[in-house]
């Protein structure tokens, strides 16, 4: 057992924390959340020069060929700073799927993703709201024509490419389309989390055989591992955000004086903070353990990731919700960052499978018939 971060991971954590503190303070997060088309283009460009979007892109395609653990080290820091944007969708989930799929189109796109010049999103969910290959309705064929709609597509306003999962005769099938393909329209969904989610309308979109990502019928096999990496990244993001909420609460409890002493000197507040600590630490290390199972190719990896995602969603939300009580009235105001973390955790909990979906994976893994 060795629960220490590698040297490069520590460097990544330190440089990310310093950079994000400076470039992405809560006021910036707030501003981006309130703007329906908010996107920190300057920050994206800056982190691209540092190689962040190419972290998981193979070296021969212009990335740094990092491990999922490297990505998590970064994402934890992004969660701590509540950084919005397409990083996890494009640089973790789409990048994993494209790397796995291979083929000319993917291999052309990946170097551009690594440079941050292009951004790739995913269109998977439909009106059922369920991340389940069996309920996919959108008929796809390539060559052919697409007609239908996808929901909860993240960052479609800044994405240049989209992976669309639909149903072909052979089963779930993935396509890789440029966002400017005629017939694709993105309409923003008005979400309280401040995340940029879209309805993607596909009106008679022409597809060619070249648009296929992976084999017909192999779409879910391709996307499931990528979504697993995404679930892990969201877990780390939530753990990072919860860690910051704990820090904000402890700072507040130390400094806020009522009845002649800091409120953190009263057991009612102390015990609430202690519970936050328990939730943050357990969520964080469960996530890192799951990351290890994935990297080590352990047979229990799928269940471990599912358990981490379900647990982090619950524990991090508990931290945010309890945080509101510790923080008192100031935490209820829009200018205080607490609600940004709370909403980021809500959004992350939904992405790459909600708790119900992941608990079903866990249920099968513990032997429930």
């Amino acid at each position: 057992m060795d629960l220490s971060f590698s040297g490069p991971q520590q460097l990544l954590q330190q440089s990310a924390r310093a950079l994000l503190q400076q470039r992405c303070p809560p006021e910036r997060v707030q501003e981006l959340a309130l703007d329906p088309r908010g996107f920190a283009a300057d920050l994206w460009k800056e982190v691209a020069t540092l190689g962040w979007p190419g972290l998981l892109v193979p070296i021969e395609l212009g990335g740094s060929g990092g491990s999922i653990g490297d990505a998590l080290a970064l994402v934890e820091e992004m969660g701590r700073a509540c950084v919005p944007g397409p990083f996890i969708t494009s640089a973790v989930v789409a990048t994993s799927a494209l790397t796995e799929a291979g083929g000319r189109r993917a291999r052309t796109l990946l170097p551009a993703l690594a440079l941050g010049d292009r951004i790739c999103t995913l269109a998977v969910l439909e009106e059922s709201g369920r991340l389940d290959p069996d309920v996919l309705a959108l008929p796809v064929s390539a060559p052919g024509r697409l007609a239908g709609r996808k929901l909860f597509v993240p960052d479609a306003h800044v994405a240049t490419d989209v992976i669309v999962l639909g149903r072909a005769a052979a089963g779930p099938t993935a396509l890789l389309l440029p966002m400017n393909r005629p017939g694709i329209t993105a309409r923003p969904l008005d979400s309280m989390t401040g995340d940029k989610l879209f309805e993607l309308e596909l009106a008679d979109v022409e597809t060619g055989p070249d648009d296929l990502l992976g084999a017909p019928g192999g779409g879910w096999t391709l996307l499931a591992p990528a979504l697993r990496a995404g679930a892990l990244a969201r877990s780390a993001e939530m753990a990072g955000a919860a860690q910051r909420v704990l820090e904000l609460c402890v700072e507040h409890a130390r400094g806020r004086v009522q009845g002649g002493r800091p409120i953190g000197g009263y057991q009612a507040i102390q015990h609430a903070c202690a519970d936050l600590f328990r939730d943050v630490e357990s969520a964080r290390w469960l996530t890192w353990e799951a990351a290890w199972t994935l990297e080590a190719g352990r047979p229990e990896a799928a269940a471990a990731v599912a358990a981490a995602k379900a647990y982090c969603a619950e524990a991090a939300l508990r931290v945010a919700r309890r945080g509101h009580q510790i923080m008192g009235a100031i935490g209820y105001s829009e200018e205080h960052p607490l609600h940004l973390f709370h909403k980021r955790i809500l959004a992350a909990g939904q992405d790459a499978g909600d708790a119900a979906l992941h608990l079903e994976t866990v249920a099968r893994a513990i032997g429930l018939a």
Binding site: V250, A253, E289, A304, V362, A363, L368
Partner: protein
């Protein structure tokens, strides 16, 4: 980052499993109640069997007859034993006291007691709490005064686990009569056979005896049967408390995983396809996994000699509260059968759930209440100001 076992560790885990297969836990005579922490019943026979394999002393330095194995081996041993439901009740006490004796015990203690521990012939009870000193442990009244080569010990301890069937106790006593609070305390090692010891059982709400009350009346303890220097008992206690909390709870995750396995079996046969039960069991599985991860984190910090008080207390709180939730869930899933005791004709899952459920209500009290743990986390790990003490 690596959460896995090395080849040598894996070989040791296999060795423990092979032992448990060759000599199934239920073939060993039990002589004390299972307190529900996951370490099973108290069994001298099983403790001796562990000793025969050299496992009780494997982490000791070689000069004390150990094999100088790293702490990871103890974790493996405890996890494997708990997963199998083995009766290793006295084990964590043996590990803790032998560690204290090696670090802080006199030569006499090392010579007299360590060989017995290694063979599984010495087991221990802790004499900390008193009738008027519970969460406020420093209000203790037990006293020892030096008379020639002996401490003369007078006082009363309570809630000491297995004290009536163990061989030695570690007793916290005030040895400087002029001292108050955390000064002037000493940790004495007391042989149960000494004249003046009166150990009386306390029947618990389970109907069985696990705790004892100990009356000490002029008990003469040899002068060098002290852990650390006289007057340094509080330091011994603090050092011990963190590790007690860790070693006394670390097997709760594999234990709860075993209980969960029983409940999965039950739901599969008695209520297959029940969506609510399914969701609850899966949810509990995620919490048990998170508990284990928290213990591993604490273990990593302990092994590296880094401060781990917050992590250990958090893991203890979580272990004991999660245990109550899992066993409460078990009671609900079993419906009317839940209350039937082990051995009764219609009992489900061998009646294990009702006993473990009952014991779980003591766990958030023992070893420092959950309230004490939370205060410890807040003050010592998060740096929040301590509550002012009431003036005596």
């Amino acid at each position: 980052m690596d959460f896995g076992l090395s080849d040598a560790e894996q070989a040791f885990a296999d060795e423990v499993r092979a032992f448990l297969r060759a000599q199934p836990p239920d073939t060993f005579a039990e002589d004390g109640t299972d307190a529900g922490y996951g370490s099973g019943a108290h069994s001298r026979a099983f403790t001796r069997a562990l000793g025969e394999r050299g496992w009780l002393s494997m982490a000791w330095p070689r000069e004390h007859g150990g094999q100088a194995r790293p702490m990871g081996y103890l974790l493996i041993l405890l996890e494997e034993l708990a997963a199998a439901g083995a009766p290793f009740g006295p084990l964590s006490g043996c590990l803790q006291v032998s560690d204290s004796i090696i670090r802080n015990g006199s030569e006499t203690l090392q010579r007299e007691i360590l060989p017995l521990v290694a063979r599984g012939e010495a087991t221990f009870w802790q004499g900390y709490s008193e009738p008027d000193a519970g969460s406020d442990l420093l209000a203790l009244k037990t006293r020892a005064r030096l008379e020639g080569d002996h401490w003369v010990l007078d006082g009363r301890k309570i809630w000491s686990s297995h004290a009536g069937i163990a061989t030695y106790g570690t007793v916290l006593a005030r040895t400087d009569p002029a001292s108050t609070r955390n000064r002037g305390l000493s940790m004495l090692v007391v042989d149960n056979r000494l004249p003046g010891m009166d150990v009386r059982p306390i029947r618990s709400l389970t109907g069985r005896v696990y705790h004892y009350e100990i009356f000490m009346d002029g008990v003469r303890v040899p002068r060098d049967w002290v852990l650390g220097k006289p007057g340094e008992g509080f330091a011994q206690l603090l050092k011990g408390l963190d590790t007690d909390r860790f070693w006394g709870r670390v097997y709760k995750a594999p234990f709860l995983r075993r209980i969960l396995g029983l409940l999965v079996e039950y739901v599969n046969s008695a209520m297959p396809g029940d969506a609510v039960a399914r969701r609850r069991l899966a949810h509990a599985a995620t919490e048990i996994a998170a508990l284990r991860a928290l213990f591993l984190r604490a273990a990593w910090l302990i092994e590296r000699g880094r401060p781990a008080t917050g992590e250990i207390s958090a893991a203890k709180v979580m272990a004991d509260e999660l245990g109550q939730r899992v066993l409460s869930m078990g009671m609900e899933l079993l419906g009317p059968f839940a209350v039937l005791r082990a051995g009764s004709r219609w009992a489900r899952l061998r009646g294990e759930i009702e006993h473990q459920y009952q014991t779980s209500w003591g766990h958030t009290l023992a070893g420092g209440t959950s309230e004490i743990q939370r205060t410890t986390i807040a003050v010592r790990a998060l740096g929040l100001p301590a509550e002012p003490r009431a003036r005596a």
